[in-house]
């Protein structure tokens, strides 16, 4: 049995109908619904895969306001998690990635009765913040080796190793698929392209069984929910939230429009001659 953790994030729902943009093209946060972030959901799929293939206890953690329990509930639906942890305290507010990692580290160390976590999963990056820094920084603070952009993995239970494929994308180079092995424990961020593959009948059966169990658990998800604040996590207030953040947001401005670089001919769609010239241009580029 493995002990697995997933750290997740509540994010704006970017799907059409739920997302709302201001007239200037910026996100209207007040009008946009929040959900479990899509990258967090992929990390949950990966943890569930590990549970089905190896057997595992799963604990989910998130830092956020009390409403972030929606994200935990959605994560439980995917993973059939045994434990949900909400790290919520006004002193955590305004944290940058380093101060967030401090809280997540403390939270992970308390998961599953303080037992050693074998693999921590996290999403590639949040859709709204998009820094992609919180995962690796949490890994570093935990002292776990970090594997990023994982697109496929399996666990060798006898050797206690993870064998993983990573997608490395670099400007000006063909993509690299790198196969690595790492002894447990390890911290993994899952690439958005990850898709679990279940190719044994026993895995399919386990999938159905645990998803059904997850459905029942989710109906009473509060029974699985533990809430922590700064005091119960035993974090030093100087290292979390705004006081523990090296960085601040100094200002936010609209990106100035670049100078017009081309003379633009505006064409009306009714103008068939103009449309014909566009067609000719496209035929003979």
């Amino acid at each position: 049995m493995l002990n697995l953790a997933v750290v997740v994030k509540l994010e704006p729902d970017f799907s059409e109908g739920n997302v709302s943009y201001n007239v200037d093209g910026t996100l209207n946060r007040a009008e946009t619904k929040n959900i479990l972030g899509p990258h967090s959901a992929v990390a949950c799929e990966a943890a569930f895969y590990a549970k089905i293939t190896c057997g595992a206890s799963i604990s989910i953690g998130t830092m956020g306001p009390p409403v972030a329990d929606i994200a935990l509930r959605q994560a439980q639906q995917i993973t059939d998690a045994d434990e949900l942890n909400l790290y919520s305290d006004r002193i955590f507010a305004g944290a940058d990635t380093l101060a967030t990692a401090e809280v997540l580290k403390a939270g992970i160390n308390k998961m599953l009765n303080g037992n050693k976590i074998d693999i921590v999963f996290s999403g590639h990056r949040a859709s709204d913040g998009e820094t992609g820094q919180t995962g690796p920084q949490t890994a570093w603070k935990l002292g776990y080796p970090f594997l990023g952009n994982v697109i496929e993995f399996r666990i060798d239970l006898t050797r206690k190793y993870v064998i993983a494929k990573r997608l490395v994308t670099l400007q000006g180079f063909d993509d690299i698929i790198e196969e690595v092995e790492a002894p447990l424990p390890v911290f993994i961020t899952i690439d958005p392209s990850y898709k679990p593959i279940y190719n044994k009948v026993s895995q399919h059966l386990a999938f159905i069984k645990f998803r059904k169990e997850a459905q029942q658990r989710v109906e009473n998800y509060k029974q699985f929910l533990k809430s922590y604040n700064g005091e119960s996590l035993n974090v030093d207030p100087k290292f979390v939230g705004l006081p523990g953040s090296p960085t601040i947001v100094y200002k936010v401005e609209k990106i100035p429009k670049a100078k017009a670089n081309r003379k633009t001919e505006v064409i009306d769609i009714q103008n068939s001659n103009a449309l014909k010239s566009v067609a000719l241009k496209l035929i003979h580029p």
């Binding site: 820094q133 063909d174 100087k238 947001v249």
Partner: protein, 404 residues
């Protein structure tokens, strides 16, 4: 009005701008040279303004890389610190984090770099990484080790003296922060710019130094210097100390994949954005048809890679993928014709397409920002435009070699 209530004397604790270089098997990743170009520009201005002699320091790790050092000098580095070892052949996060952190904090290395470094040296003043599959994670773990601040995905940098008044940093007092790196980061929509600062806590209750001021830089944004083979610089070899614990991750195999989406071999790129939203599935099918007629590769704007629409899985997997994104978060292209379908033209997108020879955009908003980069703007909804243009093309050339 600045209240000098706290001493802001640095006493030589910080010095120089370190650029962490990336390469694949000894071939430099272009962002490394772009970072050196920007570092050179910033440090030259800095030295002139503050009457200093701080340096651009390139840090490069690997195996068989001594030939890179001179190249880095020709692209703007004053000093190259390189660590050469079989264990550093492939980029591995843990060991690279340790070695870079050692180099950054070693006061002997600092003295070799700048003989005028004081014994009080503890950290680089500034630090740059590439915002890509290697640098994004490496910057995170290095700055976690150095316990300082990091801004990601930066596309503009300014050094200035700032008067800051902040509840926590300064306890509400106004304090001057000299030589502060303003790090500009475009948000995901491409319409907002956030300036991130990494500031020491000068509030006596939470007093703490936060240096280096570090960021990861978007590839393709800054210009590399024209290489000057006559440029002089110094090359320092660093012998890293390894802990066996840090070498446990093994790279078993590496495979290079040909890019699935090859924009460069197409004369026309047809991209679509949120303008497809009225009838997304239908519009994408029409775009697919058009692109076959004119032999175009299909691109998308960044918001579409987040899959905002309910679409069939086959369309999602084929089109709504990061590999197709044009812009600073994706590919930078320069086709003969760029066709922008329902793309409003966020700055990040424009950066990816503005080198195109000829730009035709289709937008229902005649004043959308894309206009400034368009040679022709067809003022129409794309669901109205697509059937008409397909019809028109088929009238002119009923059969094409590109049709299936």
């Amino acid at each position: 009005m600045t209240e000098e209530i706290f001493s802001d004397s640095e006493e030589g604790k910080y010095r120089n701008l370190y650029v962490v270089i990336e390469h694949v098997d000894g071939k430099l990743v272009p962002v490394s040279l772009e970072m050196l170009g920007e570092a050179r520009r910033l440090i030259d201005e800095y030295n002139a303004r503050y009457n200093e002699s701080e340096l651009v320091v390139a840090v490069v790790l690997g195996y068989g890389i001594d030939n890179l050092c001179q190249q880095l000098i020709s692209y703007g580095a004053d000093v190259v610190v390189y660590a050469e070892d079989k264990e550093l052949e492939y980029s591995r996060n843990t060991i690279e984090t340790k070695v870079i952190s050692q180099i950054s904090q070693d006061s002997n290395v600092a003295r070799q770099i700048s003989p005028q470094s004081l014994p009080s040296y503890i950290r680089p003043r500034y630090m740059f990484f590439g915002a890509d599959s290697i640098g994004r994670h490496l910057s995170s773990t290095v700055l976690a080790e150095l316990e300082s601040g990091l801004a990601s995905d930066i596309n503009k940098l300014v050094i200035s003296d700032l008067d800051i008044r902040h509840e926590h940093k300064t306890k509400g007092k106004t304090i001057r922060y000299p030589r502060t790196l303003e790090m500009y980061r475009p948000d995901f929509s491409g319409f907002l710019w956030t300036t991130i600062l990494c500031l020491d806590n000068k509030n006596p209750e939470i007093m703490r130094d936060y240096h280096p001021q570090a960021c990861s830089i978007i590839p393709g944004v800054f210009a590399a210097m024209a290489p000057d083979s006559q440029r002089k610089g110094r090359i320092l070899k660093y012998s890293p100390k390894f802990d066996q614990e840090d070498l446990k991750i093994k790279v078993l195999k590496r495979e290079f994949l040909k890019k699935k989406i090859d924009f460069d071999s197409y004369k026309i790129v047809a991209s679509f954005g949120r303008g497809i939203k009225e009838e997304p599935e239908q519009n994408i099918k029409l775009i697919e048809k058009l692109s076959k007629l004119i032999n175009a590769e299909v691109g998308i704007s960044l918001p579409l890679s987040k899959r905002p629409y309910q679409l069939s899985e086959s369309i999602n997997l084929k089109y709504m993928i990061p590999e197709r994104v044009i812009g600073t978060s994706g590919r930078k292209i320069a086709p003969s014709i760029y066709l922008a379908l329902g793309i409003s033209g966020a700055v990040q997108h424009l950066a990816g397409m503005k080198e195109s020879e000829f730009v035709i955009s289709v937008n229902s908003d005649e004043n959308a920002p894309i206009k400034d980069e368009s040679d022709i703007l067809v003022n129409a909804r794309i669901e109205d435009f697509l059937p008409l243009i397909i019809d028109e093309i088929q009238k002119i050339r009923p059969m094409t070699p590109f049709q299936e």
